[in-house]
Structure formats: structure tokens, C-alpha cells
Amino acid sequence: MEKAKISSYQLFVLICMFELGSALLLGIGKGAKQDAWLAVLSGLSVGFFLFYVYYKIFSFYPGISPVEWLRAIYGKVIGWFFGFAMGIYFLYLSARVLRDFGEMLIISAYPETPRFIITVIMAFCVMYAVKKGMEVMARTGEIFFIFVYFLMIMSFVLITSSGLINLNYLKPVLENGPMPIMKTMATETIYIPFGETIAFLSIFPLVDKIKGVKVAGLSAMWLSGTNLAISMLINTCVLGVDVMMRSPFPLLTTIQEIQIAHFLERLDVFFMVALIVGGFFKVGIFLYAACITFTELFHVSSYRKTVYPLGVIMLGASSMIASSYAEHIDEGIKVVPVFFHLPAQVVFPVITLLLILWKERRKKKNRQKPASA
């Protein structure tokens, strides 16, 4: 565990940046077609529940890291095993997000640059920040938060003022009933990005007030979730369902459509910067969570020693997890949510919380028994 303190506002900022990260880039809930924004909102509602579960687990073990409470709940061997699985999971996700951004940069801007070079530069920035500690990350986040939101509001104003929005593209709402939305929610929008806040279990202990975690977390999820829904709404209204579904990076395509008075055009590079900033935090937080987990598991004296080794593994993995963009996205939509996200973000935390509640109740009973006897 790192000895750092962050305020609840800083946690709020970090969660916002983390949620926006790759979800803003890739566009989520595309499976629901013109109702993608509804799928995001319904994903958010389940996301609130999941976040509350994570918070509740944390509130029983404040101030200690996830690996420690896993040992306390499941015993030494099984707890270690679960912790190890969590660490691998976080490391894998950091590699996936890194790959997402590497692919985006190659496809949209740097066709001749090897992806490895792009990811190396990005990964070393992230590793450096993670090594500096969560306090530094959080302060960086505060600065970039204003920057990213400035750009987002700007882009919103520019898109609406250039008359690109056609609300008719949203109709018919619920064309095939609520089932497609439910399906997209259950297979996609719950986990990416809302359930991914499970990585913050390693950061909660650093927050100065326990109560602040709940307020900051839920409000950050509300803000970023509604923003994601708005961004999908705008993507659909500007591009129409067909192009939105066929674009690997819909927001980028939307931004490219901006054309005001033959003067303000081709702003995509400007907004790519904002997307990359979000990606930086998402990769960074996953890597941080992985580092903290592995440090505790293998009793390393400081988590800082694990940053570069794990970072290099992340870098290698980002190239190795898939041979092409199609394979990468296919895995991300079909395999990862069902086999990794569902167990790690929903099943495991809920079972853990139930176990904790059961243990607490038994403890209370045991305490009451001697008193009555």
C-alpha cells in the first residue's frame, strides 16, 4: 500500500476521467442501434448498484488493501488465488485500453508509424505517472479534468451550432421493444465502463474520508455516465445509425463533420488530444491497481518497484493480445464481457459482499451469546 492521501474531489475527478477514457473513444452500446444512449443510461443504473457493492465491501475494511481483505474473507490460500486473478485481470485490461488507443492513433492519424512505437511512448508516460504515486496522478487529473470538460463543452456547442443534429435519426425509439437495450446492457454497457470502477478498490483506502468515497464515486459515475449517453446521442443524431455503427471511433467521425462558416473545420486532432488524456488515466489506474495487487501478493517492499516490470508486461501484452484490430474488438465484445467482466465485476463482488454480511451477522450473534449467558 502506498502512503498517500487524496481528497474526495480528486477521487471524483479520477473516476470521471477513467469512465470517459476509452468509452468515449469507442462509443458504447452500439448494439442497441439508435437507442445506444438508452443502453448507456440503463447500464449506468446497474453501474450505480455495482459501485455501491464495491463501496460496501470497502466500508467493512477501510484503510486496508483489497489483497488483505481477500485474505481475511477467504483465508490465506484461496484469498491469494483470488488476489492473483484480480491482478492479472487489471493488467490485462490496462493492456487492452493501451491497445485501443494505439489502434485509434494508427487508424486515424499515423498510418505509417509502427503501433509499438506509439504504445511505447504512451506506456512510458503512464508508467512514469504511476511511479510518481496516486497523489501526483490525482493532481494531474484535476488539471486535465478542466481541460477535457472545456473541450467537451466546446465540441457540444460547435456541433449544435453548425446545425448537424438531426433528432429524427433517433426515431423510432424502442423499435424492437426493450429487449435489444437489455441485451446490450447485459453484455456491454454495465461492464464497460461502469463495472470497471472495481479497479478503484485499490484507491479507495487512500481517500481521506470514507463517506466521501460514496458521494464522490456515485456523483462521478452520474456525471460521466450522462456525458457518455449524450455523446452517443450526438453521434447518432449527427451520423445516422448506419455510419455510427460502422465507425470504429464514432466521436472522431462526428467531430470531423463540424464545418462552421468554411472556417472552423478539421478539428479532429484537437479532440484526439482530449481522448488521449482520458486514455492516459484509464491505463494508469488499471496499471496502478495491478501494481498494488501484485505488491501485496508477493510482499514487495514498495509498489514502485513493480511499476516498470508490470508496465513492460502490459506493453508486450498490448501487442500480443490480438493480431488485428478486428480480432481485438471481437474479443472485447464477445469474449471479455462474458468470461472476464461478468465474473470479476458482478458475480465475485456480490458473493464477497454476501459472505461479509453473513460473517458480520455471525460475529454479532457470537458477541451477543456470551453476554446473555
Binding site: 487508424i107 486515424s108 492519424a109 499515423y110 498510418p111 505509417e112 508509424t113 509502427p114 512505437i117 511512448i121 429524427n168 426515431k171 423510432p172 423499435e175 451520423l239 445516422g240 448506419d242 455510419v243 470531423q256 463533420e257 464545418q259 473545420e265 478539421r266
Partner: protein
């Protein structure tokens, strides 16, 4: 102390490698800005691509009269079995790499348009440099290469002329249309809507238009002018629409704001001219006994611009009668335009799309062969509402007071 200095030095030295910029940077002197691409299909099925490359040195700027020595644009042509192959072949011919980010016009030859433009749209939609805000046009007469060779006075870059002309004509006159790649893609992929595309044509002698000497006269030997609307069905050009029917299309696509309308009055042919300043169009599908119907409401407001008969303009009852006559005229025009498209069995107005958005459940049973079974027999009710706001700076025409 020393060691930390060394560290800083090494770090700064390493950073210098990052400062060089992009891996694959191209200097301005290595790229050729393509302002328009023309695509023709040859008889053997190959594609002939014509690139209009901007010669920035030769564009006269506002201050300096005359500009450079040569023409403002240069033409290169390459051929290939696929479009991609033809673009690659340009490297064998042109000293610079073609740069498509500033391409504003994609001109398609008539042959190719009749054979289908799906392959063209796909390659350019996919290209990362190419912007989907570029307009797509069909060369009305003959080949795209001929049009791109013609030099244009006043707007020295021909693409500027083409785009500005179409934008103006679309909004202020009607019957002309400027569609960009995203519009066409939307029409191709949306159920119940067929694509329309604008056109440009070459008037005069195509051989003379490419010579700079031809610019040294007031009446040009060859010049470019906008053409009517091309109707695409399944990506293939099936017909041209011009005149009032074309204006009906731009009206119903909500592209036209102003236009002029003339009617006969008191047995004088085309006696009254109305300058329309404002156009509001409402379209609504309605289900009647399980059958769709379109209700169209068009509201035009304008001023009398031409009065060639003795008339009391200040008589409000007379004006109401004129308005009524205009309303009838507009309704007839729109009905005629719609019937034209119904004969072509091509729903360019997007009536099917409106039904889909309003009545998604009913649409499921209607969508099969919509153009042939649904649109061709669709009942359309048109209601026009014309308001004559004033008659400009004069009231009654001097014809009323002729001695």
C-alpha cells in the same frame, strides 16, 4: 551533483528524438493538394482517375493582380483496374504524394454513374485523408475528365466555383442540389429513401477550355454550369430530373429557401412574378385503414417582383385571389413532381423513412419492395399556403395608369 547533471543531459538528448514529430512526416514540398477527383469508367471496365492539383504559386491573391505565370490548377490522369490501383499508379507519374484532405469535389463520369457508384463511395469513405464533406457530382454530359480540365475565371480554383454555384443555386433557386459523401451514404443505407446527386456540365468546346489563352476573352469558349438532379436507384443513375420537378425535390428535401414563381393572370401568360423569401415545409405520414398516406404542408412567403398586368395591388381581396391562384399552382407543381418520381418508382423524398420513423411496426410489412409496391401507389395530399407580404417599392404597376 555531476551525476544529476548528466542525467538531465541524457534525458534532454533523448527527448530531442521525440521532438522531430511524426514518424512519417511529409513536408509541404512533398505533397500535392488534390482539389478535385474525377472518375470515369473506360470501355474495358478500368477506372480513369483525373486529379486536379492546385498550383498555389499561380493563384492570384487579392492584392497582387495577375498572379503567377501558369494556370492555377494542373491535371494528372492515371488508370487502374481498381480505384486504389489507379491512385497508387499516380506515384509513377507525379513527383509528389497525392494529398486528399482538401479534396472538395468528387466528380463521377456518366458511364460510371450508370454502372453503379458503390465501389467509388466505399473507397473514399474508408480513406482516412479524404473528408466526407466533399461534394459528389455527376458529369452531366460525357466525362468527368473534360469538366476538370476547364479553367474558371473569377473563382480561380474550379472546385470553389462548382461548390459555391451549387450551394447558391440549391438555396436560392432550387432544382440544383449539392450532396456530399455522408449524405449519399445516408441515403444508400436508410430504408425507404433513395439517393439524389447533383451534376455539373461543360458548355462549349472542351478542347479550348483547358488553355489559358481561352481565359483572355469576355465570352468564354468553354465554361462550367450546374445541371439538374441525378436520381440513383441501388447506386445506379437511372434518370435526370430538371426544371419544376427538380425544384419539387429540393423543396421536399428542405434544401430550398428562396425561389421565384410565376403565374398567368387575367389572360396574360406569366403575368405575375413572386419572389419567394421564406419556405417552410411540414411532412407527416398518416395511417388510414392500415394504409400509409403522406400529408405535405408547404408555406411560402414572398413579395411580388413582377406585375405585367393592370392590377390593384392595394386591394386585399384581389391579393387573396392571387394567393389562392399561387397555392393551386404550387400544389400542382408538387403533385407533378411526386408523380414523376412515382413513375420512376424511386422514393427520393424519403417518405418511406418518415413512415419507418413514425410507424416502425407498420413499416415491417411495408418495407419489402417499398419503391415498387408502396411508394409508387402512395397517396399524397399536398396543401400549399402562399403569403404575399408586399410588392417591393411600388404599389400598383404603371400599366394601370398608361395613357
Amino acid at each position: 551533483m555531476m551525476s544529476s547533471r548528466w542525467k538531465t543531459a541524457v534525458a534532454l538528448f533523448m527527448a530531442s528524438f521525440l521532438l522531430t514529430g511524426c514518424w512519417s512526416h511529409k513536408e509541404l514540398t512533398d505533397i500535392a493538394f488534390v482539389s478535385a477527383i474525377g472518375i470515369d469508367q473506360l470501355e474495358n471496365g478500368h477506372y480513369l482517375l483525373t486529379y486536379q492539383i492546385v498550383n498555389y504559386l499561380n493563384i492570384p491573391s487579392g492584392m497582387q493582380i495577375g498572379g503567377g505565370q501558369g494556370p492555377p490548377v494542373t491535371i494528372y490522369q492515371t488508370e487502374g483496374k481498381t480505384i486504389e490501383e489507379a491512385i497508387l499508379a499516380s506515384d509513377q507519374e507525379i513527383s509528389r504524394r497525392l494529398y486528399f484532405s482538401h479534396t472538395n469535389v468528387l466528380l463521377i463520369g456518366r458511364n460510371l454513374a450508370e454502372n453503379g457508384i458503390y465501389p467509388v463511395i466505399d473507397t473514399f469513405d474508408r480513406r482516412k485523408e479524404f473528408r466526407n464533406t466533399a461534394s459528389v457530382l455527376i458529369a452531366r454530359k460525357g466525362k468527368a475528365e473534360d469538366i476538370l480540365q476547364v479553367m474558371t475565371p473569377i473563382d480561380h480554383i474550379p472546385t470553389n466555383k462548382i461548390n459555391k454555384t451549387l450551394e447558391d443555386a440549391e438555396e436560392n433557386v432550387g432544382g440544383r442540389i449539392k450532396t456530399d459523401v455522408s449524405d449519399i451514404l445516408y441515403d444508400f443505407t436508410t430504408e425507404g429513401k433513395e439517393a439524389v446527386v447533383g451534376s455539373f456540365k461543360l458548355m462549349g468546346d472542351p478542347k479550348k477550355g483547358g488553355k489559358q489563352e481561352s481565359q483572355n476573352q469576355t465570352k468564354l469558349d468553354a465554361y462550367l454550369t450546374s445541371g439538374g438532379i441525378g436520381i440513383l436507384k441501388h447506386g445506379k443513375l437511372i434518370d435526370w430530373v430538371g426544371g419544376q420537378d427538380a425544384r419539387t425535390i429540393t423543396w421536399l428535401l428542405k434544401k430550398t429557401k428562396m425561389t421565384s414563381l410565376e403565374i398567368d393572370w387575367a389572360h396574360h401568360p406569366r403575368a405575375l412574378g413572386l419572389q419567394v423569401r421564406k419556405t417552410i415545409i411540414g411532412m407527416k405520414p398518416v395511417m388510414k385503414n392500415g394504409k400509409p398516406e403522406m400529408h405535405i404542408h408547404i408555406r411560402l412567403a414572398g413579395q411580388l417582383q413582377e406585375v405585367d398586368v393592370p392590377l390593384d395591388v392595394m386591394d386585399s381581396k384581389e391579393m387573396v385571389r392571387i394567393e389562392k391562384a399561387y397555392e393551386k399552382n404550387v400544389e400542382q407543381q408538387i403533385n407533378k413532381g411526386i408523380r414523376h418520381m412515382q413513375r420512376e418508382q424511386c422514393d427520393v423524398f424519403g417518405f418511406g423513412e418518415m413512415i419507418y420513423r413514425q410507424y416502425p411496426k407498420e413499416w415491417h410489412s411495408l418495407k419489402h419492395h417499398w419503391n415498387e409496391n408502396g411508394f409508387a401507389h402512395l397517396k399524397v395530399k399536398v396543401h400549399a399556403d402562399v403569403v404575399i407580404a408586399n410588392s417591393e417599392l411600388r404599389t400598383n404597376p404603371f400599366l394601370s395608369n398608361l395613357k
